[in-house]
């Protein structure tokens, strides 16, 4: 009689392609990227970084009510998106706007959602950063954690029925893996042989809960085997490693019709959101270390610069241009009207039923009768 130990002697190794300083690790197998893709990846990472900074500041100035940064995780969202095709369907958690950015969502579209104005595709109905865009195959973000995982299995099921050469990529954080939906989503995908890539961003923190308080396993990669799912652990701050792993995972998922689990190790440099001050529960020097010494954007820049695909001049130009565009986008979004009253009642059902029509009529009457008690910028 022998018991399987609760943990193995060594931790599961982590796949990486670049050293911390951006040098290519010798004899490393990885998926080559073209100059075009590499430059696009790097520019997007910079854009994401600046976007996060400026929107965060906008929240601090009271111009938007809420924001969530992906600081420290730029390589994850951009590099994983770069390895996918436009037909692959994305089910995000909430810290992956980089995927949308890669797919062509404009800075104006981001700003419009954050300001909840009438140009927002969500028609002002969701909190900031809860993006959704059908044309980009990026499903609308829903706040409760891990609900997207069983839905991912459902979408993969739909792709299977239609025999499409595409997969589903669903993102989750380390904290989200504690939810029941994580267990069931993975189990379902395995049983149904569904082409889903479960991408776990293990960034060490779930608001104030450190991973040591979240689970006792060797991270998330070891959980894959429990469901019969092929898994890999990658360095989430290494853009080339993430790109290679997702490329390979996509091949397997589609050609072999199976789910894949990817655990990307990274660090949440920013606070959980604008409603959080993480210095309350973690050391400042820990944050600074990851922000400076282990920064994924710097690391990738060193690599693209060393091969001669990027220069200081381009860097300055890009940063200035993005900054300018963002400030303009924000100004425009701020000025744009909010959705009219009628949009309070549409899309609850396909056609508004009589009780909602009545409620809308009643509301209009009330607002018209007491204009001083209602915001002046609501168009009735």
């Amino acid at each position: 009689m022998s018991f399987i130990s609760e943990s193995s002697q060594t931790r599961v190794p982590c796949y990486r392609v670049l050293e911390d300083d951006g040098d290519l690790i010798s004899d490393c197998d990885f998926q080559q990227v073209s100059k075009e893709v590499a430059v696009k990846m790097y520019s997007n990472m910079v854009t994401l970084q600046i976007m996060d900074n400026i929107f965060y500041e906008a929240q601090r100035q009271g111009r938007i009510s809420f924001y969530l940064t992906s600081a420290g995780e730029e390589a994850i969202s951009i590099a994983s998106a770069a390895a996918l095709s436009e037909q692959d369907i994305i089910l995000p958690q909430y810290r992956e706007p980089g995927v949308l950015l890669w797919r062509g969502f404009t800075l104006q579209e981001f700003a419009d959602q954050c300001f909840g104005n009438k140009a927002d595709y969500g028609k002002g109905r969701q909190m900031p950063i809860h993006y959704g865009s059908k044309k980009h195959n990026f499903f609308t973000i829903s706040s409760p954690i891990a609900t997207q995982l069983p839905q991912a299995a459902g979408i993969a099921y739909s792709l299977k029925m239609d025999n499409k050469k595409a997969c589903v990529v669903s993102y989750i954080g380390d904290g989200g893996t504690s939810e029941g939906d994580f267990h069931a989503g993975l189990n379902f995908a395995a049983v149904m042989e569904a082409p889903v890539i479960f991408f776990c961003r293990n960034n060490g923190w779930a608001i104030s809960t450190n991973v040591s308080e979240q689970f006792r396993s060797d991270g998330i990669v070891v959980k894959g085997r429990a469901y019969g799912i092929r898994s890999i652990r990658v360095d989430g701050n290494d853009a080339l490693a993430v790109y290679s792993a997702v490329s390979a995972a996509r091949e397997m998922a589609i050609n072999e019709q199976r789910p894949i689990l990817i655990e990307a190790l990274t660090y949440r440099v920013g606070h959980h959101s604008t409603s959080d001050d993480s210095t309350k529960y973690r050391q400042l020097d820990e944050i600074v270390y990851w922000k400076k010494a282990r920064n994924p954007v710097n690391r990738f820049r060193n690599w693209v610069q060393n091969i001669g695909w990027w220069s200081e001049r381009q860097e300055t130009q890009l940063r200035n241009s993005v900054r300018k565009q963002l400030l303009e986008a924000i100004q425009m979004a701020e000025k744009t009207e909010k959705p009219p009253l009628s949009e309070l009642f549409t899309d609850v059902y396909d056609h508004p039923p009589s009780n909602l029509e009545e409620q809308e009529k009643h509301l209009r009457e009330t607002v018209t009768r007491h204009p001083k008690d209602y915001p002046s910028d609501i168009s009735v």
């Binding site: 865009s133 059908k134 609308t140 299977k160 069931a184 609850v348």
Partner: protein, 379 residues
Amino acid sequence: RKGASVAVVRSDGRVNLNPKGRRAQQLISNAVATKSDSAAASSSSKPGYDSISDLEHELLLFEALQEGLEEEMERDLRVCVMGEDVGHYGGSYKVTKGLAKKFGDLRVLDTPIAENSFTGMGIGAAMTGLRPVVEGMNMGFLLLAFNQISNNCGMLHYTSGGQFTIPIVIRGPGGVGRQLGAEHSQRLESYFQSIPGIQMVACSTPYNAKGLMKAAIRSENPVILFEHVLLYNLKERIPDEDYICNLEQAEMVRPGEHVTILTYSRMRYHVMQAAKTLVNKGYDPEVIDIRSLKPFDLYTIGNSVKKTHRVLIVEECMRTGGIGASLIAAITENFNDYLDAPIMCLSSQDVPTPYAGTLEEVTVVQPAQIVTAVEQLCQ
């Protein structure tokens, strides 16, 4: 001691009067149903149809549900079924019997035991263009799927700005059965009625079961179809031709003049049984099976109230927070001027449904109570 015994009508029309002590021998596995043989009987649920046997066929309610589902799966390749034991097993109540064999085990999918997850899965599939029919083995288990049903199913069409639709049907048996215990006797319509973005319907006859199933599948909105554990073996002749029932319409079961009795699902049969007694006593009740639990068909209900001026609601939900509670509010708000008496509502008590047969029986509204209530209302 007439009040102490309960008239139990078998599905073949025989009536047994059971004094309390001898209940155990008379436990019936079939549903309570009335036979159309007297003036007090219900008009059949299909509007004005003559029984010409070559245009109709006879079947049981669960078979009607299956027929509706099968026809829709043939008609639209996007329709699929998912749930526990729905595949080769054919479903716990045989509603999906034979479907896996016919359409394959991908379109009729057996899922692991995780309600929140296969409901979530159904929602994901619906957002990508499929039309899933999710079966909860018992409605009570869908409490585990509440998060997906409320936050996602009901809301994603709205929060995505209309970009994603969720044409899902969630169905399953609920209500008080025969000694199934508290956890298997839930009335989920009470809990779900508040969720914006969903529609709820309750079937009660083979005719409307098939019609509502088909309409729910064809609807672009998420629809929750409530079936009842004790009604699956009801027998009726239904048309051969293709038909659907309107999801938002109530069903006029028995037109009358003296009092409007609003009910749905199994209680329809208790009401119709009470109606027999009431007619013998000289009353003329109007019985409406509301069918649409969200939204209410206030048009049909309103017209009835304007005619009779008295309302009795008979439901299986508990007193607090049930469909009856909402219906009272809606009628009072809209038709108060037409009422000659306060609305009466007969519901189950606010207790978990006990296992013991005798206790279970008194927790459900019985025909005798309905008769008394009408007599009181019409004083």
